[in-house]
């Protein structure tokens, strides 16, 4: 039918089709996501103008409130869940201990670094560090593990949990 090397030709056509389908899938998802985020931005802009007018009218009263608020923030600093500083914690990954360092500023987690990835395979660790972004966004260690690299990501989560427990305000 296809002359010489029939099987090779059929397989290469299959492979190109699969690659094309995945590529189109990716592009469409990309377009869809940009559309969504554009719409979201527009809404944000509208909201912002609304807020701005509100703010302008309320500025005077806010100025008056400023002094009292300032006091409140100072009090809040003491009631933050975590004290400022950098804390280390360890957790068990796929093949050993993982170590992270967590930085807290003004009660928020501003940075999480993987200090030591133990014996876990680099490719898995590479996937697993995805949980760090999730944890920074959610401001907690309780996020979903990266599927496919469950052990390494759970190790990172446990390590962050340990570091956070050290940071807790008494």
């Amino acid at each position: 039918m296809l002359g010489k090397n029939t099987h090779f030709k059929i397989k290469i056509i299959n492979l190109i089709m699969i690659a094309a389908i995945l590529y189109i899938y990716n592009i469409n998802l990309d377009l869809w996501e940009t559309k969504e985020s554009l719409q979201a931005e527009q809404k944000m802009a509208e909201l912002a103008t609304e807020k701005l007018t509100e703010l302008e009218t309320g500025l005077d009263s806010m100025l008056a409130e400023y002094t009292t608020q300032n006091q409140e923030t100072e009090e809040a600093l003491e009631t933050y869940l975590w004290q400022d500083g950098t804390y280390e914690g360890t957790g068990t990954g796929f093949a050993g201990e993982l170590t992270v360092s967590v930085t807290i500023e003004k009660g928020t987690i501003t940075d999480i670094q993987l200090v030591d990835s133990g014996n876990d395979d680099a490719a898995y660790v590479d996937m697993a560090v995805g949980v760090i972004d999730k944890m920074l966004a959610a401001q907690t260690w309780e996020v979903d593990a990266v599927s496919g690299a469950t052990f390494s990501s759970n190790g990172i989560k446990d390590a962050v949990a340990e570091a956070l427990s050290l940071a807790e305000n008494p």
């Binding site: 099987h7 899938y25 990309d30 490719a123 898995y124 599927s147 496919g148």
Partner: protein, 281 residues
């Protein structure tokens, strides 16, 4: 150099390369297969395919296989090497005790080969349904990975450990039992369009009448004929070239395919790829 000596060297080189890869890069096949699972989990949850480490591992190893054939399977896969070591031991014992294990008949074998596609399809479907994580503890590869990183598998892996043991029994029974019948990564490789120049052919006209030495030596019992419907099964172990008394087997271009410079060259390229993909220890 006479033929016998050359063949001995080739055998030694193969085992040496297998051991090097077993020690330096024992997780390549699991990472590459994690790439397959990654694609379908992302599809299931309508998420973008990012240029992730697993996807890179899958593409890197597949590209190498398309160009050079399944050299990775024959010379570098840790699980394949485990099979070879177990079978080597079993062949030695069989020879010493002069007792032979019964062979799986060829006809049945050609059906069993299809099982690996079913396993691949099963994994793909569980990923698409988003329930793959529920079966985590039953993957024999995860158990093997834990062992290669010198960790005990633990309770959660009970099912996987039992399956691994059963597979090891199969490996003792038949050469490359797992690769031939069960390996889902091997199923992916079999479906790849391997360049015809890298496939083995034989000059049928100059074959010895009634000879089938090459097929009997072949761990996947392949009828060597270049591009056939089963040509993707060849794991490039080069045992057929060793077996043929007339040196009748060669690649699509006019080199044999088991030259030592070629083998070592391919191994170096593959090790480099693994290193670049962060798959080495």
């Amino acid at each position: 150099m006479d033929r016998k000596k050359r063949l001995k060297i080739q055998k030694g080189v193969r085992i040496a390369i297998q051991i090097v890869f077993l020690l330096l890069a024992p997780a390549v096949f699991t990472s590459a297969f994690a790439g397959v699972k990654y694609i379908f989990t992302q599809l299931a949850s309508a998420q973008m395919l990012e240029w992730s480490a697993f996807l890179k591992a899958l593409l890197g190893i597949c590209l190498f296989t398309i160009i050079f054939g399944r050299f990775f399977c024959g010379y570098a896969c840790a699980f394949g090497t485990l099979g070879d070591l177990l079978y080597m031991f079993s062949a030695f014992v069989q020879k010493k005790t002069k007792k032979k294990l019964p062979k799986i008949p060829e006809k049945a074998g050609s059906y069993f080969r299809k099982i690996k596609y079913l396993i691949l399809a099963g994994v793909v479907v569980t990923c698409l349904l988003g329930v793959y994580d529920k079966f985590r503890g039953s993957s024999p590869w995860d158990v093997f990975s834990r062992l290669t990183s010198l960790q005990l598998p633990g309770r959660a892996y009970l099912v996987g450990s039992i399956i691994l043991l059963l597979i090891m029994v199969g490996m003792i029974w038949e050469e490359r039992f797992f690769c031939k019948y069960l390996c889902p990564m091997g199923a992916v490789f079999s479906l790849l369009p391997i360049l015809p120049v890298s496939l083995y052919c034989r000059d049928r006209e100059s074959c010895i009448n009634g000879c089938s030495a090459c097929k009997r030596q072949c761990p996947v019992s392949l009828d060597i004929d270049g591009d056939t419907k089963d040509s993707g099964e060849c794991i490039q172990c080069n045992q057929c070239l060793t077996a043929c008394p007339k040196e009748n087997i060669h690649t699509g271009i006019k080199i044999k395919g088991n030259e030592i410079w070629l083998i070592i060259g391919k191994a170096v390229v593959l090790l480099d790829i693994c290193y670049l993909l962060q798959l080495t220890r």
